[in-house]
Amino acid sequence: MILPPAAVVSAFEQMGITHVVWLPDSALGPWESALLGSPRLTLVRVCREGEAWTIAAGLHLGGQQPLVVIQNTGLFESGDALRNVLFDLGLPLYALVGYRNYLVPDSPDTARRYTEPVLAAWGLDTVLIDSAAALPRLIEHYRACQSAGRPGVALAAEGKG
């Protein structure tokens, strides 16, 4: 599933996001043109997902509202950076994470199998976005996390990755 780029960007704008720090996968990548077309969003490209968390930390310290956008494989890759900025620095950063193969029944993908257990182990507040109709839940969840001063993760359901 590819969420409609214009609807996604509209959601980010309603959330008050200033910077999207990302390393896209094939389901997130099609958002690029829409992200670049938004006058309210700055796109920051990284080489590895750990960079995304620490750039977002610096942006947050500097008074901006960053959003990390990565795939779940990158979530695993970036575990130490996530651990540090969310728990050592205590920053309420938010990420939208592509949930590879979530929509594929009986997928043997280990990235699919371990995503939710890993997020649960981190104790992170999560929400599933499994259709365009669910985008209001993303906005609501983001606002709730920001209001409570806690980090959060939205899982964007994807098909075959």
């Binding site: 700055t42 750990g50 960079e51 750039i55 947050h60 310290l61 950076a81 900025v85 050592d88």
Partner: protein, 192 residues
């Protein structure tokens, strides 16, 4: 035996050349810089995500394009996230200086050689290849002292390699509770 600059004099030059830049330290620089500077725009990134101090500093530079940001990094830390050189240039931030303190070893774990030391890696060449418009190396204190101010004024982002002497008996103590330090740092940023 290669030439090198004693670490503390190398940092003193930078302290004396500093204007009102944000300074992000980590590892060896985080141990020594607080003894040399108590500026409200110093942010000691301890505990850190290994190798990520340049990225936290880049986020600050992007958040505050009206301010210059200096990021310290060790050569061992640099190796853990070499791609960040590309990310820095790709970001378009020009208000950014990365200072790498190269001593060829992982001080924090007892002084084991880095892979870059064995491979004789040229970090300045890597920075230039990544697209840094300004990149320079110093292994002589007088040269560094004479050129520090002009090097910091070159077009950004800037890459500065300081070949520094190894420090024995490494010990890194916490500069205090992170929550309090973040609060003070953000206050200072808001006021400046």
């Amino acid at each position: 035996m290669r030439d090198s600059i004693p670490l503390i004099p190398a940092l003193e030059v930078l302290r004396d050349s500093r204007c009102e830049q944000i300074v992000v330290t980590t590892m060896g620089s985080a141990r020594e810089w607080p003894r040399l500077s108590q500026h409200p725009l110093d942010f000691h990134y301890i505990p850190s995500a290994m190798g990520h101090a340049p990225m936290l500093a880049l986020g600050l530079a992007l958040a505050r394009p009206d301010r210059e940001v200096i990021a310290f990094n060790g050569d061992g830390c640099m190796l853990m996230s070499l791609g960040c050189l590309v990310t820095i240039v790709a970001s378009g931030a020009t208000n950014y200086t990365l200072v790498v303190l190269e001593n060829g070893v992982y001080e924090v774990t007892g002084g084991q050689s880095t892979a870059a030391s064995a491979a004789r890696v040229d970090f300045v060449a890597l920075a230039r290849a990544a697209g840094f418009p300004s990149a320079a190396a110093f292994d002589d204190l007088d040269q560094w002292r004479a050129r520090a101010a002009e090097t910091l004024a070159l077009p950004g982002p800037r890459f500065i390699l300081l070949r520094v002497a190894r420090v024995a008996d490494y010990e890194l103590t916490s500069p205090g509770p992170m929550g309090e330090r973040i609060k003070k740092f953000r206050q200072a940023l808001a006021e400046k």
